[in-house]
């Protein structure tokens, strides 16, 4: 499939699920009525529901899907490791921990604007630690095991921080921070996350040529004029910004960044530069689809979208581990 056709197809899928997300909800308006309310506005109930409840949710699904899909593709390309993914290697969990530590301490009042600051810091710390580990040992397994350790530690500290909060509701929010959800987000969350995600995507995009060169090995890439330190900086900052911002507003949504690059890679020439954009769009399509499903699987009660992505992603991860082992042997 040509690159343009693949991008168009995945873009169309993301758009389709974006519209479906706008049309899905317990209020049960018809498609025509919903779209009319969205565009013509007014202060009727349908306009409030479409503009203040469903639109932010769909926009966040789109943006966070882009962030997770792109983050997975960039990490897999830079580390030349098929199992690298923001969720698996602990970046999302560390972002959650950062957000939780800043928000629940109440140091900044009850403002949700502190969430991304904490999340970006947590995400950046974890990416730097992981890259340091990856630089010392090139093994696929070492990085994943270090990521598992980091994930568990961040998850445990997140639970601890939430349990220590005097607010009785905080401990229930462990589920949100570890599994993620897009329920009842607002345009405020969109304005918090969108610029940071866009900046992160741009930084990762700027690293793509270097990532393509890196497929030849670090020495060959250096001889081609690739600045490894700059590339590393772009990937670290790009992943930390986009995944950190995504986690700050939606919790740690796993497996999207793992599954999507693997699904689109066979349809490309397998170069990181060619996988990046399709992965980002595919991430959006997958997350939006999962978020629509999370609202209709059990009609009376929403489930966390992270549960659905894990249901798809965990078996896929197992299969991938088996295949990687077979190829390694």
């Amino acid at each position: 499939m040509s690159r343009a056709a693949l991008i168009l197809l995945l873009g169309a899928a993301a758009l389709l699920f974006f519209v479906l997300s706008l049309l899905t909800g317990p209020a049960g308006y018809g498609p025509a009525e919903s779209l009319r309310a969205l565009f013509s506005g007014g202060d009727g109930a349908a306009a409030i529901i479409l503009r203040e409840i469903r639109l932010p949710r769909a926009l966040l699904g789109l943006a966070i899907g882009l962030a997770l899909g792109a983050g997975g593709a960039a990490l897999q390309g830079f580390l030349r490791n098929p199992l690298a993914e923001p969720g698996l290697i602990g970046v999302s969990a560390s972002a959650s921990l950062g957000a939780v530590a800043v928000f629940y301490s109440g140091l900044a009042g009850a403002s949700i604007y502190v969430l991304p600051a904490g999340a970006l810091f947590g995400a950046a710390c974890s990416v730097i630690v992981l890259l340091a580990i990856a630089a010392r040992s090139g093994s696929t397994l070492t990085l994943i095991l270090a990521g598992v350790a980091l994930s568990s530690l961040a998850g445990a500290l997140t639970s601890l921080a939430l349990n220590l909060s005097p607010n009785p509701f905080a401990s229930y929010e462990i589920i949100f921070w570890l599994l993620g959800s897009l329920k009842d987000r607002s345009m405020t969350h969109v304005w918090i996350a969108l610029p940071l995600i866009a900046a992160g995507l741009l930084l990762m995009f700027m690293s793509l040529r270097a990532l393509d060169a890196l497929t030849l090995g670090e020495e060959a890439a250096a001889s081609l004029g690739v600045d490894l330190r700059l590339t590393r900086l772009l990937v670290v900052a790009g992943v930390a910004l986009s995944v950190g911002a995504a986690t700050a507003v939606a919790g740690a949504i796993g497996f999207v960044g793992l599954v999507v690059p693997h699904l689109v890679r066979p349809l490309t020439d397998r170069m990181p530069g060619s996988v990046f954009l399709p992965s980002a769009l595919g991430g959006s399509a997958l997350l939006l689809a999962a978020d629509v499903a999370s609202r209709i699987v059990i009609p009376s009660r929403e489930i966390n979208v992270g549960v659905l992505t894990a249901l798809i992603g965990a078996p896929f991860f197992l299969w991938l581990v088996m295949r990687t082992r077979r190829e390694a042997l």
């Binding site: 209020a27 409030i48 529901i49 009850a110 607010n167 509701f169 607002s186 009376s300």
Partner: protein
């Protein structure tokens, strides 16, 4: 405020009087040392106990979000509801909630302590009986009867005015949880002459209620939760969701006094009054001068 030394003296006197004449007068005075392990029994006991009779209340007794009578707790010793604390304090009577500390209750009863459990009150009309029961236990029957009948009079006084149509309300708690039938809020709404939308739609207890449906159902009154500004949670964010701000101006957003519906006590009247006052200000009731 009564000095602590005087309180101690009174307690000593009470203990001595019980020791001296362990029959009729002592029974009428009630147990000398009473310990409360639950924020709801705390408040009833603080209202009814004689000075010095209550030797300890729960750590939540002055919680600004749960305890309406937080100011009564003063410098009373606090407990965390542990059996060890009870044994060390040697009370004559322990009052506690039925659900919160059931294991503690069983341990204490096995050890021979007198433990009286109070159910978690789910209806306004059952509150006077709870007050009378606590009064009987503490030997403060007259004071309890006065409080209970005062409450009944106050509730009867909240006569719903005539409105153009029934006024519909929804209590929207943290995380988008609505309070349906069988909750204290539901019965307070009934007492204030409001129709609870969650109950009307068949929801019982605390039930997830999608924000979309709240907007679509367009309640006349939305009762928002008392949020903890000093200890943030995402659950509290629902009260400041832009969709609630975008509701028509005719939708009243109110809060009942902090802690007034967290427990059954005379103070539930304050919640009923707040709801009734909001009701009088809604569109269907404004302008109808009929009392």
């Amino acid at each position: 405020m009564r000095p602590a030394a005087a309180a101690k003296g009174f307690r000593l006197a009470a203990v001595l009087s019980v020791a001296a004449a362990f029959h009729a007068p002592a029974l009428a005075a009630g147990p000398a040392r009473v310990m409360s392990l639950n924020v709801c029994t705390d408040q009833l006991a603080m209202l009814l106990a004689k000075p010095g009779q209550l030797i300890s209340v729960s750590a939540l007794a002055d919680d600004p979000h749960l305890s309406f009578h937080k100011n009564l707790a003063g410098d009373l010793p606090r407990n965390r509801g542990l059996a060890e604390e009870v044994i060390a304090a040697t009370p004559d009577l322990v009052v506690t909630g039925q659900f919160s500390l059931h294991n503690t209750t069983q341990v204490l009863r096995r050890l021979g302590y007198r433990v009286e459990e109070f159910t978690y009150v789910q209806s306004v009309i059952s509150v006077p009986a709870e007050i009378r029961r606590m009064g009987a236990l503490l030997g403060a029957g007259a004071k309890a009867a006065q409080l209970a009948s005062g409450m009944e009079t106050a509730l009867a006084g909240v006569a719903p005015p005539q409105c153009a149509r029934p006024v519909r309300a929804l209590a929207y708690e943290q995380n988008g949880i609505a309070l349906g039938t069988g909750t204290l809020m539901d019965s307070a709404m009934q007492a204030a002459g409001l129709v609870n939308i969650a109950a009307e739609q068949g929801f019982a207890g605390m039930t997830p209620f999608p924000l979309e449906l709240l907007v679509k159902d367009a309640p006349d009154i939305v009762v928002l939760p008392d949020i903890m500004a000093d200890a943030p949670s995402l659950a509290d964010q629902i009260a400041s969701h832009p969709a609630l701000r975008a509701l028509p101006a005719s939708t009243l957003k109110i809060r009942v006094p902090a802690g007034s519906l967290a427990c059954g006590g005379p103070f539930v009247v304050e919640a009923v009054k707040a709801l009734a006052a909001a009701r009088a200000g809604t569109l269907p009731c404004k302008g109808s001068a009929v009392q």
